[in-house]
Symmetry: C2
Subunit: 339 residues, 2 copies
């Protein structure tokens, strides 16, 4: 029997997840969003679907929605950060619901805060529930896909991952976090004071890879550099001049056994095509054999994250109660009974 | 504690597996091979390793070796076909040993013979043992890697997989099975009477993918065409003239819901580089998003199969007793505790 789901958060990603879950035949038993423009509305209307596509009404009262269903799967899409999602997740687990979160830090919460990860694991275990973080990045492009490519390797000496994407579809919140439109000087200040964060999830990707390969990571190095444009680059949201920052080149390097074992590189910018740069996912593994993989264009972050979340519903049910990591599960492929 | 292993079969692949297992710290408790040139020899000598690299002696008496250890993992590398490996596997299972086989048909034995697959499942379950088939193809390049790439897909409409490799390192047995050196007419006769088989494993790849995606396959179409060379192509083993067959282009197409859902294409030949063809693994998934992946050169079949077999040892132990498929397990990455 298919599980009932509860949507927790109906921003752009939450809506994508809800639409895909409905398309896949899941029943949405409830939907939570604090936005006054959504609360009280029929979920179908918020999702831009015909009336009757589902019967849930969006509510701002999380507690009320959560007690109205039993042993549901809560799909959480509210924030990137563990500190902001942990408490709502704990409430869900205490009621016996399973939780799938697309918060970046939830793909390996212990890499953000060991104590909170343990608290979530306890809350889940004690209530016979499971909690999992997933998404395209972290959760796939820079970690699970890497691990998939190590299967035919007898020994892995080094892994290099580069994900080159295009932020042109995103609005001000995302673009500000990458420093788009700043001068190079202003970019460096914004990195220093935390306004430019770059990618959220390198710590999680490193931890997922290291744990699954049995690596003891000794230290990481991290840099955020401005991608300075040589040309005018324009999107629907803004235009930048030559010399302005088009995005952030965020890198993390991890060391084990006294040497570099993993290098993650994620240039995120608007309109890379205008300077001849194609978008792609590239993974190079060196060891007893070399695996050099390219996916071009890159795996879509939005559609991919929605799919990863919905696909996980069925696999999560088979895991033992507790905090679950993607590496514990079989491949979370879309299981659709008619081809 | 690391499991003890027993090597069953010490041909080229068995030797690679044994060397990698020793390198990874596994103790080889016994080794079986019928070849009079190997039986009675120290395993280290057969493997080309220094004396003392391991203490096992190769024996032609399978029964004796198998009763000399308890709850070991038997690594079987003797034949591609279920009909030839099933009975020895059953003997291992009856003694409570786990079995990892690189027989191509063992990655999904029910696709070769439902009854035998059920018999193996029973023998394993009744004795608290597990049996798994793995390898690079089938087992990775044309199935598990495909499934890994479906994780960020909400809907999969069609999958196309092309694996282009180079047979130049192989000897007469492999080359004859692909029709290398024949005239095109002789190739067609050899396909008709079963001397040219092409790739062994398409049925298994189709079954692994279909089961994991929940597809009901209605029928498959299969063709084997000669790859006719335009140039002289030579290897250490033979040389062919223009107009001769350089290899076999083997294709399988699977249909579900009344339409094509999966196309597997595996041209195997000597020296494809002489006609400008690079070797590669290519996977194209179309659905709610397009994933277009290339690995070039292709994942090495020999090293990759040895790694897949050794990597599986640790993961198999966590599975429930019975016949296990790769899709039931987490990613079989190499788990090496020092980086």
């Amino acid at each position: 029997m298919m599980r009932e789901i509860i949507m927790y958060g109906l921003g752009s990603m939450g809506q994508r997840i809800a639409r895909l879950a409905l398309e896949r035949g899941y029943r949405v038993a409830g939907a939570i969003d604090l936005d006054p423009a959504k609360a009280g509305q029929p979920l179908s209307r918020v999702l831009g679907l015909p009336d009757g596509a589902c019967d849930a009404t969006v509510s701002a009262d999380a507690a009320e929605v959560l007690v109205s269903a039993q042993h549901a799967v809560v799909l959480q899409a509210t924030s990137s950060f563990l500190a902001q999602v942990a408490e709502p997740i704990e409430r869900c687990l205490e009621l016996g619901h399973d939780v799938i979160s697309i918060a970046e830090e939830m793909t390996f919460p212990a890499a953000a805060c060991q104590e909170t990860a343990e608290r979530l694991n306890r809350a889940a275990s004690q209530n016979g529930a499971r909690v999992l973080g997933t998404g395209v990045n972290p959760g796939f492009a820079m970690d699970m896909l890497v691990l998939a490519l190590t299967v035919p390797c007898g020994r892995v000496d080094h892994i290099r991952v580069t994900r080159t994407n295009d932020l042109s579809d995103f609005g001000p919140t995302v673009l500000n976090g990458q420093g788009v439109g700043l001068s190079p000087d202003a970019f460096h200040s914004a990195v220093d004071d935390g306004r430019v964060v770059g990618h959220v999830g390198f710590d999680q990707s490193v931890a997922l890879i290291a744990r699954h390969l049995g690596w003891q990571i000794e230290r990481v190095e991290e840099t955020r550099a401005p991608i300075v444009s040589s040309v005018v680059r324009a999107t629907d949201h803004l235009a930048i001049e030559p010399g302005d920052v088009a995005g952030c080149l965020h890198r993390m390097t991890a060391f084990a056994g006294g040497r570099e074992v993993l290098h993650l590189e994620h240039p995120q910018q608007i309109r890379p095509d205008l300077e001849g740069q194609a978008t792609s996912d590239r993974i190079v593994i060196t060891g007893d054999q070399t695996v050099d993989m390219v996916i071009a264009p890159e795996i879509g972050g939005g559609a991919g994250t929605a799919a990863a979340a919905v696909n996980a519903i069925e696999y999560l049910a088979c895991a033992a109660p507790g905090l679950v990591h993607l590496t514990d599960l079989p491949l979370n492929s879309p299981r659709v009974l008619t081809a």
